[in-house]
C-alpha cells in the first residue's frame, strides 16, 4: 500500500487490520518474545496462541536493555538473544508465520534506529560514510511492513520524540501504538491521541511488565479518562487470569494484553503449545463473559 493510499484510509476513518481485530468482540492481544527459546518454537507458540483465540499477536524483538520489562520478560529476551535472535532473523520469522491475525512488533528504539546502518553495512562493507547516511528509522519500518508486521510498540519512545517514526509508519501503512500510563497528564494524552492509530495501550499500573494477582484500581481510572477515544483500548501489565480479563473488559476495555503469563509457560518448557492454547482460551473466555454479563459496562 502506498503512503497516500494509507493517508486516505486514515482520513476516511477506515479501520486498520489491528483496529478491525477489536471490532466484533473483546480482543485478546498475546505477547511472546521472538526466538525464546528459538525461532521454530516461537512460530509453533504463536499458532497455538491464535488457536486459543488471540486476536492480535505482539511479537517482542529482543533488545539487550529492556527497561520497561519485569523479570519474566527480561529473562525471555535474554534467552532469545543468547539463541541468536537478530532483527533480520525476526523478519524472516514473521514472514514465515502464516497466521491470519495482525502481528505487532514490540521493541526498543535503538534497534529501529540502527537497522538502516547495518543494512547499509551489509550492502557495502567498506563505505562507512554511506552507512552513516543510511541511518534512520525508515529502513526498519520498510522491512517490518515487507515481512507482514501491522504495527509497532516502542516503550522507550515517548510521543514527543516520535515524529520520524510516525512518518515512516504512515508511509508504510503501519500503526504506531502508544502507551498511556496512570501518570500520563491530560496534555500528554491529547498529544498521543493525535498520533495514535491501531489501539491505545493502557498500562494497567505503574512499573514494569509482569503477572500479578489482582487488577489495579489505576486501570479503571485510566479507562475512564479514555472514554472519548474512538480507538480501541486494550489494557496490559499484570493480567494473568480469567477473572482479571473479565474485570478489565467489564470495566470498559476493548481488549486485554497478556505477556508474562504466556512467557512463564514458555519458560517452563512443559507442553508449551498445549498450555499456551489453553491459557489463551481461558483469558479470551473471561473477556467474553464480561461482555455477555454486563451489556452496559459499569465504570468505577
Amino acid at each position: 500500500m502506498s503512503g497516500s493510499e494509507r493517508e486516505r484510509e486514515i482520513e476516511s476513518k477506515h479501520e486498520s487490520d489491528i483496529e478491525a481485530a477489536f471490532a466484533d468482540e473483546p480482543a485478546l492481544v498475546s505477547y511472546v518474545a521472538a526466538g525464546d527459546p528459538n525461532a521454530e518454537e516461537t512460530k509453533e507458540y504463536v499458532r497455538a496462541l491464535v488457536r486459543g483465540g488471540s486476536d492480535v499477536i505482539e511479537l517482542g524483538l529482543p533488545f539487550s536493555e529492556p527497561i520497561a520489562e519485569g523479570p519474566t520478560i527480561q529473562q525471555a529476551i535474554r534467552r532469545a538473544l543468547d539463541a541468536g535472535m537478530t532483527p533480520d532473523r525476526y523478519f524472516d520469522l514473521v514472514a514465515d508465520l502464516d497466521v491470519d491475525v495482525p502481528l505487532v512488533c514490540m521493541t526498543y528504539y535503538n534497534l529501529i534506529y540502527q537497522y538502516g546502518t547495518s543494512e547499509a553495512r551489509r550492502a557495502s562493507e567498506h563505505a562507512s560514510g554511506e552507512a552513516a547516511s543510511q541511518r534512520g528509522v525508515e529502513p526498519f519500518v520498510a522491512a517490518a511492513a515487507e515481512a507482514g508486521i501491522s504495527g509497532l510498540i516502542v516503550p522507550d519512545l515517548p510521543v514527543d520524540e516520535s515524529a520520524p517514526l510516525k512518518e515512516a509508519c504512515d508511509a508504510h501503512g503501519l500503526d504506531l501504538i502508544f502507551m498511556v500510563a496512570p501518570t500520563t497528564t491530560d496534555d500528554r494524552l491529547e498529544r498521543m491521541l493525535d498520533r495514535a492509530t491501531g489501539f491505545v495501550y493502557v498500562q494497567g499500573r505503574l512499573g514494569t511488565t509482569g503477572a500479578r494477582s489482582d487488577v489495579s484500581d489505576e486501570t479503571h481510572v485510566s479507562l475512564g479518562r479514555l472514554d472519548q477515544t474512538e480507538l480501541p483500548k486494550a489494557v496490559g501489565f499484570g493480567i494473568s487470569e480469567r477473572e482479571h480479563a473479565r474485570e478489565i473488559v467489564g470495566g470498559g476495555a476493548d481488549g486485554i494484553i497478556v505477556g508474562s503469563a504466556f512467557v512463564d509457560i514458555v519458560a517452563s518448557q512443559e507442553n508449551v503449545a498445549e498450555r499456551l492454547e489453553a491459557k489463551a482460551s481461558e483469558l479470551k473466555a473471561g473477556a467474553l463473559e464480561a461482555r455477555a454479563e454486563v451489556p452496559e459496562p459499569e465504570r468505577t
Binding site: I67, T117, P158, T183, L206
Partner: protein, 419 residues
C-alpha cells in the same frame, strides 16, 4: 522543548511513558530552582557544599610530577570532597532538589560506589529515604563502599543480571523509578540519561571548573594549556571542562578506559574497554541519544575497565557533541597504564587516586612518552590541570590483586605481609 533537551543531535528524552510526567516535573524544578535560584535553592546548595562538602577543594601544584614531565602539573583535588570524590557535588544538589520538590524517597544506581555513598551521605544529611542499585560485579570489587552506604542507612540492592556493572544498575533503577515515580526521585550519577539530567548534573559539577579556573589564574597567572579528566559517564569531565569550554586556547582531554584492548568481540557481545567516545557509534541508551558501544544491530555491548566507575557502554550526550565539534579530544589509557599511574601518584605525591582518576593521570605519562618519540599523541602544553576525581581507598583490594596478577612494575610487593 526539543532543542533545549539536545546538544546538537545528541540528548533528548527516550524513556517509557510512565516516567515522562516525572521528567517534565523535574525539568520544571530544574529551571526554577537551579537556573533561576527560586527560594534561594542555589544559595542553600552552595552553602551546604561548603560546610558539609568541604568546598572549595585545593588546586595543588604537583612538584614531583611537574619535574618528571617537565611541565607545570596542577591537580584539582576532588578526592578531598567529603566522601572522597566529585560525586557529592551532584548527589547533594539532586537530593536537595528532591526535597524542594516534596519527594520523600531517593533511588540511585552506582558503579564504583562513589555515587552511591555520596547519595547515601546526602540522604542521611538531609533526612530522606535512600535505595541504591549496584551490579554484583561492582559489589564484589568495591566492598568498602557497599558498607559505607549501609552505614548511612541506605538499602543496597544487588543486580545480578548481565555483567553486573553500571549499565545493569541503571536499568534496574529506571524500573524502580517507573514503579514508584509519584514519590521517588532518581538521582542519576553522571551526565547521562534523559534531559534534564545531563544539563543538571553538569551544572552541579561545574563548581569544579569554576574554582579551578580562578585558582589557576591566581596561582600560575594564566589559563592552563590543557585540562585532563577521566570519562566514564562524564560528570567529572564536564564539571572540570565546563567553564573552560569558551576558552578556545585551552585544550580539553577526556581520558576513557582503554581496558585491555580497543577491539570488539561482536560474537560475545563484549568490548574489552569502555571507550565509547573514541570508538562508539551513535544510538539511544538510557533515555538519550549519544555515542555507545553497540554491535551492528544496535544491541548494547558489555564494556570493561579495571575501574568500576568507567565501566559503562555509553557516555554523556554533551561530551559526545563536544567531541564531534572537535572542542574535546577523546584519548584513552588502558588497565595496566592506569594501575602504573595509581602507584606513581601514590609514591611521588603522597596521594592515592581512585582508579578512575588514575586514567587521567596515566595520560600524562602517555603524552610525555609518545609525543617525544612520534608526536602521535596530541600535546598537553606547558601548563596542565588534571582532575583527580576521587581517592583510591575504595580500590585497594583491586589494586593489590590486579597489580600482582599483571606484574605492574611500579607496584610494591605485598606478598611477605600476606596471611
Amino acid at each position: 522543548m526539543s532543542s533545549k533537551s539536545k546538544f546538537g543531535e545528541y540528548g533528548g528524552q527516550y524513556v517509557p511513558e510512565a516516567l515522562m510526567p516525572a521528567i517534565e516535573e523535574l525539568t520544571d524544578a530544574y529551571e526554577r530552582y537551579v537556573l533561576d535560584n527560586e527560594d534561594g535553592f542555589m544559595d542553600e546548595f552552595r552553602g551546604r557544599l561548603r560546610d558539609f562538602g568541604g568546598r572549595p577543594t585545593p588546586l595543588q601544584r604537583a612538584d614531583r610530577l611537574s619535574e618528571r614531565y617537565d611541565r607545570e602539573i596542577y591537580l584539582k583535588r576532588e578526592d578531598l570532597v567529603h566522601g572522597g570524590a566529585h560525586k557529592l557535588n551532584n548527589a547533594l544538589g539532586q537530593v536537595l532538589l528532591a526535597k524542594y520538590m516534596g519527594k520523600d524517597r531517593i533511588v540511585a544506581e552506582t558503579g564504583a560506589g562513589q555515587h552511591g555513598t555520596a547519595t547515601a551521605m546526602a540522604c542521611a544529611h538531609l533526612g530522606i529515604d535512600c535505595e541504591i542499585y549496584m551490579g554484583r560485579t561492582d559489589i564484589n570489587r568495591q566492598r568498602p563502599n557497599v558498607f559505607r552506604m549501609r552505614i548511612h542507612d541506605a538499602e543496597v540492592n544487588p543486580v545480578d543480571i548481565g555483567s553486573g556493572t553500571l549499565k545493569e544498575a541503571i536499568n534496574a533503577t529506571m524500573r524502580d523509578w517507573a514503579t514508584n515515580v509519584e514519590d521517588t526521585h532518581y538521582v542519576i550519577g553522571s551526565v547521562v540519561g534523559p534531559h534534564p539530567f545531563p544539563k543538571m548534573v553538569r551544572d552541579f559539577q561545574s563548581v569544579i571548573s569554576e574554582e579551578a579556573r580562578e585558582q589557576i589564574r591566581e596561582q600560575a597567572g594564566r589559563l592552563p594549556d590543557s585540562v585532563v579528566a577521566c570519562a566514564g559517564g562524564g560528570s567529572n569531565t564536564m564539571g572540570a571542562f565546563h567553564e573552560f569550554v569558551g576558552d578556545e586556547e585551552v585544550s580539553l582531554f577526556a581520558v576513557e578506559a582503554g581496558g585491555s584492548s580497543l577491539s570488539i568481540d561482536e560474537e560475545e557481545g563484549l568490548a574489552p574497554h569502555s571507550a565509547s567516545l573514541s570508538t562508539g557509534d551513535e544510538g539511544v541508551l538510557h533515555g538519550a541519544r549519544t555515542k555507545l558501544l553497540q554491535n551492528s544491530e544496535g544491541q548494547i555491548l558489555e564494556s570493561h575497565s579495571v575501574s568500576a566507575g568507567l565501566d559503562y557502554s555509553g557516555v554523556g550526550p554533551e561530551l559526545a557533541h563536544l567531541v564531534d565539534e572537535e572542542r574535546v579530544t577523546p584519548v584513552n589509557v588502558g588497565d595496566d597504564a592506569a594501575l602504573e599511574a595509581f602507584h606513581r601518584l601514590s609514591k611521588l605525591e603522597g596521594i592515592i587516586p581512585a582508579l578512575e582518576s588514575s586514567h587521567a593521570l596515566g595520560y600524562l605519562e602517555r603524552a610525555s612518552e609518545t609525543d617525544a618519540r612520534s608526536g602521535d599523541v596530541p600535546d598537553l602544553g606547558d601548563l596542565v590541570v588534571v582532575n583527580v576525581s576521587g581517592r583510591g581507598d575504595k580500590d585497594l583490594d583491586t589494586v593489590i590483586e590486579e597489580s600482582d596478577r599483571r606484574d605492574i612494575d611500579a607496584a610494591p610487593s605485598m606478598e611477605v605481609f600476606e596471611g
